[in-house]
């Protein structure tokens, strides 16, 4: 089905919260899913890989070297934003991520960061071709990114013009969308007669 990018982002945010991610990380997953959809990749599908795993229950150990940061195996929902945080704090760093469970979603997170910070990043994935990512998209655009794999993230350019977002919506696989909505529904509160009557305004009929 055809979805707007805002629908995709909103649904993924709710789904992420629904599996237990804190809202800040849910926003990162959702924005990444939106960005991927906008550049023609399967954003909701990439997010589901992470959402199936549920919320990370611990932070991955991190080792810092002179110009490197190494994040041990952990979920992209947590490691992805962390890796980007370390890199944006110091453009000259190389961020190593072990056993990335959802490299496509990681690429989406990198794309969001590239768009909002005017950067070009290089994402090197073991067993795959490297991918250059700006806010406008990735090169090559259809690079395969199957996980788990190790990754290295670095910044190759700054001052890249900030990009506006795509505007046309995206096609989402029906089954994927159903799964996302089912996870999002975990954030909805079941109806009661009391909440129906008093939880919001306006009457149950308005004929005046």
């Amino acid at each position: 089905m055809r979805c707007s990018l805002n629908e995709i982002e909103t649904s993924l945010r709710r789904a992420s919260v629904g599996v237990g991610l804190p809202v800040g990380l849910a926003e990162e997953v959702a924005a990444a899913g939106r960005w991927l959809s906008g550049v023609g990749r399967d954003g909701p599908g990439a997010a589901l890989v992470v959402l199936w795993l549920g919320a990370p229950d611990h932070a991955a150990p991190v080792e810092t070297g002179a110009r490197t940061v190494t994040l041990a195996a952990g979920q992209v929902a947590l490691n992805g934003p962390a890796a980007i945080d370390f890199l944006l704090a110091d453009d000259g760093m190389r961020i190593h991520l072990a056993r990335v469970d959802a490299p496509l979603l990681l690429a989406g997170m990198v794309g969001v960061a590239a768009a909002s910070h005017g950067r070009e990043f290089l994402l090197e994935l073991t067993g795959h071709a490297s991918v250059r990512i700006t806010g406008a998209g990735m090169t090559p655009p259809d690079a395969p990114m199957a996980g788990p794999c190790d990754a290295v993230l670095s910044c190759v350019a700054a001052g890249v013009p900030l990009t506006g977002g795509p505007t046309g919506g995206a096609n989402v696989d029906d089954a994927t969308w159903v799964e996302v909505q089912a996870l999002a529904a975990r954030t909805y509160v079941p109806e009661t007669a009391q909440s129906r009557q008093g939880g919001a305004g306006a009457g149950l009929t308005d004929n005046d």
Binding site: R2, D85, T167, G169, R186, T187, Y188, A200, D206
Partner: protein, 559 residues
Amino acid sequence: MQATANDHPQVPLRAPDQVMRLNRMGAAFPTRLSFMRILMRALEAGDAKVSRPVWDIDAQGFGRAVYSVALGGHTYSLIAFATPLADDKRTDRVIAEAWDASFTLFDGIPTVADLDRLAQNLPRQEAGRFRASELILSRANKSMRLFAHVVERLATGQQPDADMLGATGYLMRTTAVYGNGKMGAADRARIADRPALSAPFQAEMLTVWLIRGFTHDLVEHVARAQSPDTAVLLSRAARRNLGIGNSTGLGMAPFLTNHAALLNNWMMARETALARVCAVARPTPGKIGHARRLLARARVHVGEWNVPDARQRTRIMTLRDELESLESVEWFADPHPWARLRTEAAGRSVECQELINALLLEPNGDLVDDLAETMADNTSAGVQPGMAPGEVRALLDANYGWALDVDFSREQASALFWYVSVDKLEPRLGRRAEDAGADRELPLDIARRVQALARDLDGAPPGQSLPAFLLAHPGHRYMLRRVQISAGHPFSEIHDNLIAEGCIPLDILRFKLAFFGASKFDPKSDLWTRITLYQGAPLFDEIGQGRADDWWLPVLEEF
């Protein structure tokens, strides 16, 4: 006195801790920077003409219609479907499943195939699907009594009862106006850079203005169908007196919380406008005369503002007395009339203060209208990880004192929670001690999150970087991003605890609705309000006649 980059002197802006309090936000009035006003000026500047290429409405008032208007180099069409509705199905709640009318603002001119497709989907609203050609989705219900009355009167060759018309103020009221990709419709990015649509909610405001005209045409059509030999049209004055109603519920509260930078930009524009006006020590006699006329108009407008809600009625009555008392103050003769008027207002109620602040902008379009261009926000601010945790902590002290002062050891401080109901995803407000669902509450508990963040920042190892802090405390990412936004956006937060006992959501609703340009707030409870949009605004054929910008706090015209 500060000189700004655009050479407009200004006095210091009012402090966020003053203007971002709910009691003051809940006393907001529309200004010339309200979104409807911005749109009207754009329509006037473009000498926009509205046509009606489709009118396929039956004698009972059901069918389809299309209105088209060119604006900023694009053509937009309101597509309307009027459909039968049983009385027991008519509700303004989000949980409604049918409406008297449904609408979309279409990007361009629809084909018959578009109309047929939309005929299947638009009346179903959330149960339908839409395309990127649909920019805005909306629905409305009739004001049953008034609609029937107006039909009856027009059919017999008479104008409607002026008092009855004025008391309601609209033939239909919208119960939702959706943009930004709802149900597959266009993302806002599609139109964000278009001339005349870049300011906030312009597409929504255009939709509502066109719906207003549709309601006028519809009631005349039904009357004519009933009695073709005797029916008359609404008088021009009656048409102007009829705006579009709206029932506004809780969804606006999560919206403002979710769009911190946008909220800041609205307030920054309004407060900067006020600061520019107040920097003018000696306004021209013409502007002073204009302000005096507006004050007199405001008295009449407030005199026509009658609502059943006891709290608001009391505030209105107080405001009436205060505006009357201002009549005897010769503020206009003061060497510094704007300052004198504000000083007088400062000794009166918050409603009076905010009305006067809004009034002061009206004669000063030359000083403030350019600020409309600053009110949108198309950014998406992520975490700025280069900031040291100590800097974040300092921002908390500087910008979140209101939150740090809340005593969460008291149950009342977290008595409420905001959530989304499974029933059509309606936003609702629950009581933590009584209602289920607090485990799924929405993140409107800003004050509580601020305190949790402060505690963990205070306990962070010395020298820890922000990335390391966030890796150890991923739950703070959301609040930390907001704190960083506050650094350059002083008006980004509501300075009140939104989960506290006594939080009145109505204050948030009125604030946002005032920015839309709404007036005559008619609170029905603490959770929702009815308002009137575009009452007194120019009609379709009045654009280009030079009166598109003089309808602040309109008064009912006699007819």
